[in-house]
């Protein structure tokens, strides 16, 4: 086979995927960049739209809410996933089944989870019934600007932690048993085994989960749009909801394009990091 025929064959095999990359990612990205650089009144390229969104209180509030959300939800989900993985890394009857139960929420559409939790979080819903049964005060949850973001965090964590647990569980099962035996001979207790063997050995899966989890949480949309529409008082106005509102509710395509460029720019940086973490494993190629 010649070099030329290999190139032609590769091109033929890659063509459908290359067309999809172009149509579904590169072209829309180019359109967003182009639109973002043309101010509403026209008149040549400028950064006017970016200046506008970065002085728009709604957009700035949305950035703030998104950052607060990420700072809480990422460590929380990683801690819970790690705890679940440690708990589930054992041989008890039906262990595959118990793991699946925790993984199930991720397979259900987020809109369904949002709707079901929305009913459960109503003032007369299931969650308050449980709180009252436990002797606590009923809460307002999604209708309170103090509790709405926490409620969204609860919902997306219920959805996601089983998924992230799966990565950490796989990492745990890759740790050579001999490492534990070695430190046990040195008299390490359970905490020391965790601290000096488990955690360092989990560095890669944990980093990967942190990065992939950040992308996923950055783009949370369905629960917000369905349950709060960003409210009350903008307290749950995550960035995807703001972009959606700019584009389709208040019909401001220029601001929506500028916000999309910011959004895709941030996501691109995180995804490149994610790709490098995925790649490190086949560096032997």
């Amino acid at each position: 086979m010649t070099q030329r025929s290999a190139i032609l064959a590769a091109l033929a095999f890659l063509m459908p995927a290359l067309v999809s990359v172009f149509l579904l990612r590169l072209w829309p990205a180019a359109v967003a960049v182009n639109t973002s650089l043309i101010p509403p009144g026209g008149g040549g390229y400028s950064l006017e739209n970016f200046r506008y969104i970065f002085t728009d209180p709604v957009f700035l509030n949305s950035l703030k809410v998104t950052i607060v959300f990420l700072l809480i939800v990422n460590p929380l989900q990683i801690a819970i996933s790690l705890a679940l993985a440690l708990l589930m890394n054992t041989m008890v009857p039906l262990i595959g089944f118990w793991r699946t139960v925790i993984l199930l929420p991720v397979a259900i559409p987020q809109s369904v989870s949002a709707v079901v939790w929305g009913v459960a979080l109503r003032p007369d819903g299931l969650v308050n019934a449980v709180l009252v049964a436990l002797g606590m005060e009923p809460q307002r949850f999604l209708t309170s600007s103090d509790q709405a973001l926490a409620s969204i965090i609860l919902i997306v964590s219920w959805i996601g932690v089983g998924y992230w647990m799966t990565f950490i569980l796989a990492g745990l099962q890759d740790i050579p048993k001999s490492l534990y035996e070695a430190v046990r001979i040195d008299g390490a207790n359970r905490w020391q085994q965790f601290r000096f063997v488990t955690l360092p050995q989990l560095r890669r899966p944990l980093t990967f989960v942190l990065v992939a989890n950040t992308v996923a949480n950055f783009l949370i949309f369905a629960p917000v749009q369905i349950l709060t529409a960003g409210g009350p008082e903008g307290s749950t106005d995550l960035i995807m909801n703001t972009v959606y509102t700019q584009a389709f509710i208040i019909s401001d395509p220029e601001s929506a394009a500028a916000s999309t460029v910011v959004l895709v720019g941030v996501v691109l940086l995180i995804v490149i990091l994610q790709f490098r973490l995925m790649r490190a494993e086949d560096s032997n190629e």
């Binding site: 708990l87 929420p105 796989a170």
Partner: protein, 278 residues
């Protein structure tokens, strides 16, 4: 398998308890789908066994959801997801084959650009893409709904990874036998890749079954509405019928729940193999 092999009843009890806590919302959804609408909130205060087990069972909610457009929405979701899985496997596996097996210049760069582009979650780019698809008259069409799901970075990555592990000698022997590239792909690589293809299929399936923002934008017409969008609009009605909402939620959820329970092993492997395992 490096699991703790000593059996501990305490740990077993905690595992079961945690699983139950995670399952409570799904269980509540399920039993609420089978009780009369007026009984859904009645047994919540005070909390009692009847909060979690219906006193009277009824099928009226499950039968009721099919009168409106919901049946059509479920059909749309199933149809779109099946086509996405088939097309997605074709596109991702041919691309992965070229990137793993055929030697050509700039192969690593093409791989990098492709996987990174596809790893950008589709929702991030949905607003400008909506403009393009509208220009191409793909609003309220199956094509418009299906297209975004067919290129998946994780699926390309996973399949390429698997193809790299298939010994070179096999394709060299096939070359000697006079097979072309397509023959090697179709008759050597694909038959060996069952588990990897199944994992990729699950990734594509979960993505498309979940899709919400894109179908909301591109297919608002009742004939093309998907189930994930229909349920949200159901619940946003002024005076929602909770029995119907839970019944519809159950129908939408039960399909991926069954798929995942049966194929959990493949899903977990696929997830783990993209997660920087060493």
């Amino acid at each position: 398998m490096n699991s703790d092999k000593r059996f501990s009843y305490a740990r077993f009890a905690v595992i079961v308890l945690v699983a139950i806590v995670f399952f409570v919302p799904l269980w509540w959804m399920t039993v609420s789908a089978f009780r009369p609408t007026d009984a859904i909130f009645r047994y919540l205060s005070p909390l009692s066994p009847w909060s979690f087990f219906p006193r009277t069972w009824t099928l009226e909610n499950i039968t009721g959801i099919w009168y409106g457009n919901f049946g059509r929405a479920i059909f749309n979701s199933i149809f779109i997801t099946l086509v996405t899985v088939v097309l997605g496997l074709a596109i991702c596996s041919t691309a992965a084959f070229a990137l793993a097996v055929i030697e050509f210049p700039f192969r690593k760069s093409v791989f990098m650009v492709m996987v990174i582009s596809f790893l950008i979650p589709f929702d991030a780019i949905a607003v400008p893409l909506y403009g393009i698809m509208r220009m191409m008259n793909l609003q309220n069409t199956y094509t418009g709904l299906i297209l975004p799901g067919i290129g998946n970075g994780l699926a390309v990555f996973l399949l390429r990874q698997f193809f790299l592990g298939i010994p070179k000698e096999l394709r060299e022997a096939a070359f000697v036998d006079g097979m072309g590239w397509f023959g090697i792909y179709w008759r050597v690589y694909l038959p060996l890749s069952g588990p990897a293809m199944l994992s990729a299929a699950l990734i594509l399936f979960v993505f498309q079954w979940q899709a919400y923002l894109w179908p909301l934008l591109i297919a608002p017409a009742p004939d093309y509405k998907v189930a994930a969008v229909a349920i949200a609009q159901f619940s946003a009605e002024y005076n929602p019928n909770f029995g119907l909402i839970f019944a519809a939620s159950l129908v939408i959820s039960v399909i991926p729940m069954i798929v995942l329970t049966v194929l959990q092993r493949y899903y977990s492997t696929s997830v783990a193999s993209t997660g920087g395992k060493e």
